[in-house]
């Protein structure tokens, strides 16, 4: 056993939030040899290797589940690796990530699924592979979905790309029903989005930037809702960014469709008025949209239409971002700000209750992926985050652990600081 592994931790007097049971209470949590051994008041624990965490005034919740993360490994290791990405995750209080398959080579074969699982065995947090729907993400040939499912994929996605061939998408959906895994869908109509850089609207015309109309998302969401209705596939629309999208998802769910969706913290936080600075870290796909769209997403969370928040952590090199707005890559990192950005906006500003918010990043994404996570359970391996919800801090570039530093939140003042994260039963992160 690694001498530096700290598997005996006593978290004292924190406000425990258990979204699964819908409970909130002050309690100590004692983790012994990596297992959540005891919960209660004034636990007396001893041991020479015991780490004590003073969680007074802090909240204690299950480690977060980020279901949309790009770890760039294999193929783009200068942007991020499984090792560095998972370290960034635990800094953000995240103990489970689902990683997207647009790596190089892509996660479209049994051996690549196994690569992810093997390489992440010793990583700071749990990594679950989402396998590709089509070979090479080219949108023309379906992958060996049965074999991928058996190898350990938790779902399928072509994220980064969207399957344009409706017939093919339909057959993917039909085939997925044999295995019961969700399809995580990035919805983009290339005929609409082609050449666009930002949301098409008042600001894009003001700033002289080509726009990506919200039609790009909405047309495909409409298509996929129809296809899912016919095929009875389990679909999950990821990074919803439009009012139209929220409305369609709401209606589809009311009609009985097995449909879920997530939004990113940046889509909840920003609207396209922020683009005036031409900050390339705000160049995102789908783009940050109008205030009207942003408010629709907030309403969607309040109304229970939005099921989860996921970062869409998309690392890029400085060289890829420090260039003209047109040439810059799309994307922002998001693991380390998943909690703070969405907490600041939803709980502090919009007054959404903490347990409801926590469920959006714990039990809900766990349920969508069909995994055992996002819970506080005695007798199981501990995955816990301790968070100081009172301190406000400015997001600084130099504070990021992620290999890439392209965060949309640099310069923003956010509330919610992760004090420590216990992941896979070990103290994986502690804030100095």
């Amino acid at each position: 056993m690694n001498k530096n592994e700290r598997k005996n931790v006593l978290v004292k007097s924190g406000r425990v939030i258990d979204p699964e049971k819908g409970k909130e209470f002050i309690s100590d949590i004692y983790i012994k040899d990596g297992i959540l051994a005891e919960m209660g008041e004034n636990i007396k624990a001893k041991g020479k290797e015991l780490t004590e965490i003073d969680a007074k005034g802090c909240i204690v919740c299950p480690g977060f589940v980020d279901m949309h993360v790009h770890l760039r490994d294999p193929g783009f290791e200068d942007e991020e690796t499984i090792e560095t990405g998972t370290l960034a995750a635990v800094k953000g209080g995240i103990t489970t990530v689902a990683c997207m398959p647009n790596t190089s080579p892509p996660i479209d074969s049994e051996s690549m699924v196994k690569y992810i699982l093997e390489k992440s065995e010793d990583a700071a947090c749990r990594v679950l592979p989402v396998a590709a729907m089509t070979r090479g993400l080219k949108g023309t040939d379906i992958t060996d979905m049965g074999l991928l499912a058996e190898a350990g994929a938790v779902g399928f996605s072509d994220d980064g790309r969207c399957v344009g061939d409706s017939r093919l998408m339909y057959e993917v959906m039909r085939y997925s029903t044999q295995f019961g895994l969700p399809l995580v869908l990035h919805e983009e109509d290339y005929s609409v989005s082609r050449g666009g850089l930002v949301n098409e609207g008042r600001y894009s015309s003001m700033l002289g930037l080509d726009g990506i109309s919200s039609l790009s998302d909405d047309v495909i969401i409409a298509r996929d809702i129809i296809l899912a209705g016919r095929s009875r596939a389990k679909i999950h629309i990821t990074h919803v960014s439009t009012r139209g999208g929220v409305e369609m998802i709401k209606k589809a769910r009311e009609g009985g469709l097995d449909i879920t969706c997530d939004v990113t913290p940046h889509h909840l936080f920003f609207n396209d008025s922020y683009l005036a600075s031409f900050n390339t870290n705000l160049k995102l796909k789908p783009p940050i949209r109008s205030e009207e769209d942003r408010l629709a997403l907030i309403e969607g969370i309040k109304g229970g239409v939005i099921d989860a928040i996921a970062s869409d952590h998309a690392p890029h090199l400085d060289t890829e971002k420090n260039t003209t707005f047109r040439l810059a890559e799309f994307g922002t990192i998001g693991l380390e700000t998943l909690f703070s950005a969405s907490f600041s906006k939803l709980c502090r500003e919009e007054k959404i209750s903490l347990p409801v918010f926590i469920s959006l990043i714990t039990t809900s994404p766990a349920k969508i992926l069909g995994i055992d996570a996002g819970k506080i359970e005695v007798g199981k391996t501990a995955n816990i985050a301790v968070i100081d919800t009172e301190t406000e801090e400015e997001v600084k570039r130099e504070d990021f652990i992620s290999k890439s530093k392209n965060s949309a939140f640099i310069g923003q003042k956010l509330m919610g600081k992760i004090i420590c994260t216990i992941s896979k039963g070990k103290l994986a992160y502690i804030n100095k």
Binding site: R135, I142, D144
Partner: protein, 306 residues
Amino acid sequence: MLNKKSILDADSLSLEDIKLILSNADSFLEISRRDVKKVPTLRGKTVINLFFEPSTRTKTSFEIAAKRLSADIINFSPSTSSLKKGESIIDTLKTIFSMKVDLIVIRHSDSGTVKMVDRFVDIPVINAGDGKYQHPTQALLDLYTIKKRFGKFEGLKVAIVGDFLDSRVARSDMNLFEKMGMDVTIVSPTMFLPEDFSAMKVKHCIGDVIEDADIVYMLRMQFERQDRKFYPSVMEYNRFLTLNMDRLGKMKPGSIVMHPGPVNRGIEITDEVMDTSGELAEKIVIEEQVTFGVAVRMAILYLILG
């Protein structure tokens, strides 16, 4: 004598027709076991094998059947490059018709063509493979094979495994098997099933039926682009649909493995299974199907032309 002159599909075969063909097949099987495998029954009759789609098995089977009945048989395989839409088919038929033949055996790659030909001519037409539609003589010889092995049909469990949508064999077999009282399950991935398969018994993995089935019927699977539709790969097929030694070993006593042939080794059935000897090899009746095919086709020719 059959109630109609032509055999175009399995649907229109009555129980009497089926029983008549199967009972006569026994006699023709006996002839095929003699040294002199010939009887003069159809002497002077002319049969034409009109194959627009290549075939070795079926064409040869009909040829042998006709010759053993002392009929004259002519093989006519128009090359596909010389065919333009439906025009040339009609011209071809007119030519044949003026040669005063007695029966046409026809195979074509476009569904419905055999029926079209039957409407056009006065002589009997036998469907030797109509596009993706039906292959009734195959289904009849399959029935005969099952009769020889089990002595009955009622209550037998059949699993038809593979690309159901594109298989004329599957369509004819399913029709006849259910007509004779057998319990049919289709084992097929979603790509090869109709959109709504709620009226059929369906499974997606051969493992789900292998221990229960009396008959495991493997359909041919092609992996050329135009044939495999959206199916991912051979590897995925091997995992969910291929008959390998492990699965063969799980089959119940007395059960059999059938295939219309030719077998794509490594796809529908592994090399190991095809080459196995010993107890398990007795389950594989593919060669018997071929032998019985000649006898059944002799019975059909005899009952139509005799």
